[in-house]
């Protein structure tokens, strides 16, 4: 069987590709679904935050700004001492600095930060990329549930607090 010269085979490849449908996804008319674990935006569950500042300290870019104050809460049992609890005043993430590494989400001991695959939040003004507490709380609705793991895994599936 004589060898087909490579030049002709190459023409065949491009011709066949021309006849197959294109793979382009015409954004913004059609959109692809990102994976559930995709690191799109960080959501904050404000009730869980105890202002421990671990996330702000561990951010490589120092893009999390936290301010809080201590308040007196009623004692747990009647006749006890009043407790001090921390209250969150300000929790801003500057997405113009954030490098989407996820150290803050991982390091939080109280499950207050979650990843969401939302990515369409570009702004015409740079200052609008600073998401404050309320906006970060709104992202909680887009956080997907944690997926089950592959066979052979011993990790437990955590729950997202809603």
């Amino acid at each position: 069987m004589p060898k087909i010269p490579g030049l002709v085979k190459g023409l065949g490849v491009t011709f066949k590709t021309m006849l197959k449908p294109a793979v382009t996804v015409q954004y913004p008319y059609e959109k692809e679904e990102p994976a559930p674990r995709a690191r799109g935006v960080i959501a904050l569950k404000e009730d869980n935050c105890t202002v421990c500042m671990l996330c702000a300290r561990s951010c490589p870019d120092w893009c999390i700004y936290i301010e809080g104050h201590k308040e007196k809460a009623p004692p747990r049992r009647p006749g006890g001492k009043p407790r001090t609890v921390s209250a969150l005043d300000r929790f801003d993430i500057d997405y113009s600095l954030c490098m989407y590494c996820g150290i803050c989400v991982e390091v939080c001991p109280f499950e207050a930060l979650f990843w969401s695959p939302e990515y369409e939040y570009s702004e015409p003004r740079l200052a609008d990329l600073l998401h404050d507490k309320e906006r970060l709380g709104e992202w909680m609705e887009t956080v997907p549930d944690f997926e089950p793991y592959e066979a052979g895994s011993t990790a437990k599936v955590l729950k997202v607090p809603r």
Partner: protein, 341 residues
């Protein structure tokens, strides 16, 4: 129906006007079909879809964009030569369009040496490229221009030699006569298809296609504009409407050469089964020629988007040691067979 008699200047005005209009139209059609859509689908993507349905107006938008740009001259460039170079190329394109017959009565100038004139005039573009390369005062342009000079002059020869076989068979240099010879001829007694020279001159057709690819500086012969090495070669300092002139020159010349290839080898405006001298061919002819032009352009651009490019010494070797001997042998065989039969 009485014939309308126009004065010489009115006739010339209409011919020049229509031809000048045909250059951008031809460039647009080729550009959209092959550069924007065929190339995209060969690369598994869609190409422009926004400007007009399926991006048909994209090139128009590009044209408007180019025209409204600032006319920049590099500081050390030779201004007059730099300014004229793209229009020298456009001028040779325009002269090419004049001789291609589109119907039995539709040809701008029916020279008795039509194909000779076409080939002579197409080599004028070398001057334009050299002017652009030298006057840009840029080492990349210089290299591109020098490469182009060598390549284009080397590939003139296979271009001409491939046509000689056709001329021997048709026994005329006039393009309309060549079309009629193909329409009225017969292959071993079968006459309904005519005698398109692509069957007997298949070698000449392939050599002509390769030489056209080189004359248009398309990959695999696009060393003068090797985009990944000398970043645009002789075109690198051009922007705005002068770059548009280069672009239209390139695609307009592709359209014209495809027209010449269709006329020489595929039967031109003749349609098998229809009498070539009837009046209906004045309407059917352009359509038939257009279809054949699109087919030849498809071949040219298919090669362009598939192959990597040659180095110049390999390019020259290909022309001088492969294409020219093959076309010379082709002429010899054609001569012998023409006399024998």
């Amino acid at each position: 129906m009485t014939a309308i008699v126009l004065s010489y200047w009115q006739q010339t005005g209409i011919k020049v006007g229509l031809t000048l209009l045909l250059i951008p139209v031809g460039a647009l059609i080729l550009g959209w079909t092959f550069l924007l859509k065929m190339m995209s689908h060969m690369q598994s993507r869609l190409g422009p879809m926004d400007a007009g349905p399926h991006g048909v107006l994209q090139l128009v938008a590009d044209g408007v964009k180019f025209i409204q740009k600032e006319d920049i001259f590099p500081d050390r460039a030779d201004r007059r030569v730099f300014a004229l170079a793209p229009f020298v190329i456009l001028m040779s394109t325009f002269l090419l369009y004049l001789v291609v017959p589109v119907g039995p009565d539709l040809v701008a100038e029916d020279f008795s040496t039509g194909i000779f004139f076409a080939l002579a005039v197409s080599s004028l573009s070398v001057i334009g490229i050299l002017m652009a390369g030298w006057a840009s005062a840029n080492k990349y342009s210089l290299m591109g221009g020098v490469r182009a000079a060598g390549q284009l002059i080397a590939y003139e020869l296979p271009l001409v030699l491939a046509v000689v076989g056709v001329v021997i068979q048709a026994q005329s240099l006039n393009l309309s006569d060549i079309v009629r010879a193909q329409a009225n001829g017969e292959i071993f007694g079968i006459s309904f298809l005519g005698n398109p020279f692509v069957i007997t001159q298949i070698v000449g057709f392939l050599v002509f296609l390769a030489a056209v690819q080189a004359e248009l500086t398309q990959t695999p012969f696009d060393m003068p504009v090797a985009e990944s090495e000398i970043v645009g070669g002789y075109q690198v300092e051009y922007t705005g409407f002068r770059f548009l002139a280069f672009f239209m020159g390139e695609f307009g010349t592709a359209f014209a050469f495809a027209g010449i290839a269709a006329t020489l080898f595929l039967g031109g405006w003749a349609v098998p089964g229809v009498d070539p001298d009837s009046n209906v061919m004045n309407v059917l002819g352009p359509i038939a020629l257009f279809v054949k032009v699109m087919f030849v352009s498809f071949l040219i651009f298919w090669f362009r988007f598939t192959y990597p490019r040659f180095r110049e010494d390999q390019l020259q070797k290909f022309a001088w040691t492969i294409l020219i001997p093959i076309s010379l042998v082709n002429i010899l065989v054609t001569m012998v067979l023409k006399v024998a039969f």
